[in-house]
Amino acid sequence: VTEPVLAAAFDSLVPAEPFEPDWVDVLVRAEADVPFLRRRRNWYALAVAAIVIGLLVSPAFGLGGKFLDLFTGSPAPEHVKTELSFGTNQGNDQVDELMRQHVKSTVLVGQARGLLAVPTSAGLLHIWGAPTSDGGLCTYMLLAGAPHGWLACDTLAPDAGPLVGTADAHNVDGRTLRYVSGQARERVVSVELKLEDGSVFPVRKVGTFFFRALAPGQQPAALVGKDGGGSVVAELPVASGGLGGVLPPVSPVGPRRSLFVLQTRIGKVTMHGAAGPEGKRCWIVTTAAEEGTACRDVPRGVEFDFNPYYNSEQTERIVLLSGFVGPQVDSLQLRFEDGSHVDMALKRAYFLYGLPRRNWEAGHRPSVLVARDGGGKVIARRDIVPDGL
């Protein structure tokens, strides 16, 4: 028996590659920081793109803190991968393409894995996660038995701090599923949720992702990140009710003022403005299915979000450009790839614009926002495509 024969015998004992590589599983086991962040050089401004894909879920009141650990790391089923890839098989490719540009990335659906499974009174809430090519994380939440769930993609900016997160609410037939979720950087080993009544609850963390469902009546006050020694390294105020929005989450502190009302394919869309904390200004976009709040520092030029919104039945989508301009700005122009442009109507420095379908097509998409002062001098330009936010 020669060495090659022996080698052949060894070969026949163990397959050449007995199982598939799974780097995300390694990282989940290690509870390492989201690895994909470190490869990027140019993180774009703190951005959250939150989509609601259908709200055909049952209410989930009385959510507990229990999780099914066996779910963690399980490969995502195909239908979840499809959702994580922005549902490109659902005939909404144009919106999906806009979303991809919005988050400047491709979702690595092949690496989609289960993050958590949370028992609820409405059934199991499954949460899958997939990294994005630009260092973000997309999560898809689905209640067992529900045909559709929620997709959200977050990309952390380098200056976002060690802990970012939001309190979200999804309304279904007047009932609400509420939770806090977000991402924590590597040195945050554990996350706690402080409620307004002073009580504190642990928040489950898997890798960088964390999640805790809120029971009825629970009002979140802050998320607290601690290092391995138990020292607080970050405390982030949170307030319930917002969808998407800006990280770190901040909420309006002043009264809401009605600014715009649009009649759209998904029904009435309203936009309100309000003062935010620390001199920020906020805008709130409300549809029949969801509400998005963003609070930003007052810019020299323009602050904006560029988001799709969906009706509850997931049969229609619209794309909205919303935001506000700085005090020096007198006019705001949206330019398109085909050279055309439209002037944004400003009301109390805010604007809301529903992107026509013709401008979803490649070659006709929004390209840049141009802000001018009263003398017509350009004082700010903000690229939209491909640089997104």
Binding site: V1, E3, V5, L6, A7, A9, F10, D11, S12, L13, V14, P15, A16, E17, P18, F19, P21, D22, W23, D25, V26, L27, R29, A30, E31, A32, D33, P35, R38, R39
Partner: protein, 160 residues
């Protein structure tokens, strides 16, 4: 400049480039595919967690191998028997040879068996095997010779 520690990209690169070697070796040591998978994944997770301890005194792969081997051995000890156990029966008529090889491997001293796995499945040279097992390359040679002799003998017995 402090050059200690490995970063995640480096570990991931080793994981992807040498995945088949780690997977096969761990499976052989642990005794079944599922245990092998768990050993590799857990070993690399440990490597990720403890990456700051890598002192760059050798290659990162050499630093990772003992972690993988130890994880696989832990699972083999829990499992028993220690011989590799292909999950699927061989389809090329090698069933009896495989049985014989398994039996022969199970009968080998622990160091010889590990050395054989690291030679055949990880394709490590004597120096690499020695680094994992904590023995000199010369001792690796002697260990492998002894292992080969025993394994050859068992296969020849089957063939005759």
């Amino acid at each position: 400049m402090d050059v200690r520690g490995a970063d995640l990209d480096e570990i991931e690169a080793v994981y992807r480039e040498r995945f088949a070697a780690f997977a096969r070796t761990a499976t052989a040591i642990a005794g079944d595919v599922e245990s092998g998978r768990d050993a590799v994944q857990e070993a690399f997770a440990k490597g990720v967690r403890e990456r700051h301890a890598f002192r760059r005194e050798g290659t990162l792969e050499a630093w990772l191998w003992p972690i993988v081997v130890n994880e696989a051995r832990d699972r083999a000890r829990r499992r028993r028997p220690t011989a590799p156990n292909a999950d699927e029966p061989a389809s090329d008529g090698r069933g009896s040879e495989n049985d014989a090889l398994r039996a022969a491997l199970a009968a080998l001293p622990d160091r010889q068996r590990l050395a054989a796995f690291l030679r055949y499945y990880a394709d490590l040279d004597y120096e690499g095997i020695g680094a994992v097992l904590g023995i000199t390359p010369g001792t690796v040679g002697a260990t492998l010779n002894a292992a080969h002799a025993a394994l050859r003998k068992s296969l020849e017995e089957v063939r005759t």
